[in-house]
Subunit: 328 residues, 2 copies
Amino acid sequence: MAIKVGIFGYGNLGRGVEQAIRRNPDMELVGVFTRRDPASLKIKTEGVPVYAEEALEKKEVDIDVLILCGGSATDLPVQGPKYAALYNIIDSFDTHAHIPEHFADVDKAAREAGKIGIISCGWDPGMFSINRVYASAILPGGTPYTFWGKGVSQGHSDAVRRISGVADARQYTIPVPAALEAVRAGKAPELTTREKHTRECFVVAEEGADLERIEREIKTMPNYFDEYDTTVHFISAEEMARDHAGLPHGGSVLCSGVTGAEDEHTHVIEYSLKLDSNPEFTGSVLTAFARAAYRLQQEGQCGARTVLDIAPAYLSALSGEELRAHML
Amino acid sequence: MAIKVGIFGYGNLGRGVEQAIRRNPDMELVGVFTRRDPASLKIKTEGVPVYAEEALEKKEVDIDVLILCGGSATDLPVQGPKYAALYNIIDSFDTHAHIPEHFADVDKAAREAGKIGIISCGWDPGMFSINRVYASAILPGGTPYTFWGKGVSQGHSDAVRRISGVADARQYTIPVPAALEAVRAGKAPELTTREKHTRECFVVAEEGADLERIEREIKTMPNYFDEYDTTVHFISAEEMARDHAGLPHGGSVLCSGVTGAEDEHTHVIEYSLKLDSNPEFTGSVLTAFARAAYRLQQEGQCGARTVLDIAPAYLSALSGEELRAHML
């Protein structure tokens, strides 16, 4: 019997999860849930109903795991604990500073309900976190470095779009090649924020807008851009549509460390991702962890988990025997 | 209180584990156990006693986790079940075809004794297995590729040394650059054994040996060399000592897969290792899993496990709170 999965939120990430479920024969999409008018939503999977959020509250649909595809700023802090009280849930909460608080909220609700809530799934936090932990456990004393890109940062793109006079914007995060190479060579360099990444913005300005002011406002924006070397290109709406429609991303977690009586041997561990579609890959990770959530609850476990608390075997459709025979 | 670790077998791997324990302040080496005469063994850690194997059987030393550093051919199939009946154990059993049988043997002994036995730790099997499972769970339909090298294969070096007229030998396994690049580019090529790796042998021949025969015997050796393009170089004992004393290794697990309604997006996941010392890195992995074994038994679990059954958090010296706050 397939694992019955619900999707709450049908933006880029929700659509990515929908595509991922289609590729996992042991899972079945049983409903998409939305705060919009359900009648206004046309989803890609034939025969699967779209429901209003209220259907979730009323438990109208039999769901094994609910994948929350909302945003970290305002959606997930509310939806996580609310729905962990009713369903096994998965989310991609990615506000690093607030993870401990979100974990505690989901943990409380899930424990009381006997459900599992796996938070902060995706690739960072997510697969990158897993690799930071493995690498630093194997090479204690080594420092894990994380490089993002080249890829579109949706948060930074949104920040540029909020500047007055900007009609549209796309921001690429780009690792500095020399920094990446130094880390790959096991040199364990000390790197400032500016030395690790550059930022490149493509901006469609409104007619008559002051381009110099826009560029200055981007480059000096606190937290988002002021600590980086940023390049700004003004382009037409046509160029934006033609050259920057995708949401590629990726990056690397690198860790070097030494062993031997006199630190004479250097080891470099690298985990890297090259993703044509950030939301579809993130959706694929969420879907694999949905399988884990289902199995954990079947075992009688409950409470909040992160990707660090889940053994790899729980993500695979293969049995323990199959994994040992073919994948180990 | 530190985790008390014993090492059984003091070859390259045992010495690698010894170095790793030194870098993990929550662990303490309490003894090295050997089938040789203990008085003949000089170990690197001051103040730690060397015992004969019998001390293990008699449980003379208080040990939380025993790390078995013997070979897979004849040592571990016997030592695994024997010592899982007495201690939590870790091993690096790497005969892929016999893993299911070894797992069953260790599982039975460990369950009866209430101990944990984690088998097949290291990098392959080990970290590479973990990455094959994660990648294929996230990208179902994608094929994980494993490339080894450039590095010294001890099994292949030994095989060459067994040829009559060979005084010493070192065999390097080398990935074929074109194959690696095709997989990295997400092309998911079909590759034969010959297309994935080449083999390069450095041989010191005995005086008067028939070099042509040695080269022919190497290149046609079933399983080891016959399916590969192999290069053989005859060198002097001095060149061997000068240029080939180390045991570097490494490699990559790569997996590409597609997402999207029309398979329009390709994703590439790569996990790669560059290791100056294969046995010291393997020893570092074993040591991290020793921490996991200790914690699992503290929780009241027992039986055999593989690296696929262990959540990443169990390997880290950090607490769940610390991991969520700093590593997620």
